[in-house]
Symmetry: C2
Subunit: 129 residues, 2 copies
DNA sequence: TATATTGTAATAGAAAAATAGAACACTAAG
DNA sequence: CTTAGTGTTCTATTTTTCTATTACAATATA
């Protein structure tokens, strides 16, 4: 997997798993791949995977059963809350950054719409929603 | 200055200066504060400032004159290009992240509009374009 | 000419993150 | 009981980033 070398890998692994949970690849109660397998898949060290998982276990997103595996929480409210938080964090980040680049509120929305429209143009074949 | 501890400080300093250039605080040809003063202002080490500036000098965004100071390029086309690049990078990042959170194109735009609207509600006094 | 201010460079050390490797603990299956 | 597969923990090493400190080079100014 390709990582942004400006952000800690363990942090990007957390995002990766969050996304899998939210797009349905890892539904509530699902068993994650074994930590050693995850390390192979992501081409990182087991300890780096473990660091990401440990934090997610602590926050209640995952549960761990020694000898069995790691599992996504059954608490769907927790997952929905998680998604809301992640979406809002990303919106706030994007808004602040674009605002710092001197775009007005209206320009921020317009530029996003233009970006999506251009993206469609260059991508007539790809699957999108 | 407050830095995000998930991103290298030298990298955040680059963003900081880019933003100053684009919002007009540092117009073309402007003299930057001395590196030692910048280090004090940002409460970081001179070498960290120097690393950020060195990269911006290499890419042509700044020019350096030993004994005089560091200056923003006079090349306005370069600056305009820089802004376009930064805006597009941020749009791409936000789009990809929100898409990974399972928002459709329409939902991405709608959620941004909602975010801005809510932000206005909670901020009737602040100056905003 | 002297002094202060500027950018530049180099060395050394501290801290965080990632890796490698080994060992330990629990569970399931033969 | 033995073995394989799981999570967990630990030590050691490397790399990157940041800091601290010092020194050097070029310019401006008194």
């Amino acid at each position: 997997m390709k990582f942004d070398d400006k952000v800690p890998i363990y942090y990007q692994i957390k995002q990766y798993i969050y996304h899998k949970m939210i797009d349905g690849t890892l539904p509530p109660g699902a068993k994650l791949p074994a930590v050693r397998q995850l390390a192979l898949d992501l081409t990182v060290n087991v300890n780096t995977v473990q660091r990401a998982l440990s934090e997610m276990i602590t926050e209640g997103t995952l549960t761990s059963q020694r000898g069995k595996g790691n599992f996504v929480t059954e608490d769907q409210a927790h997952i929905m809350q998680l998604r809301t938080t992640l979406v809002n964090e990303q919106l706030a980040l994007a808004y602040d950054q674009l605002h710092a680049l001197n775009l007005s509120d209206a320009e921020i929305v317009a530029s996003l719409q233009q970006y999506i429209a251009q993206r469609e143009e260059h991508n007539h074949d790809s699957i999108d929603d």
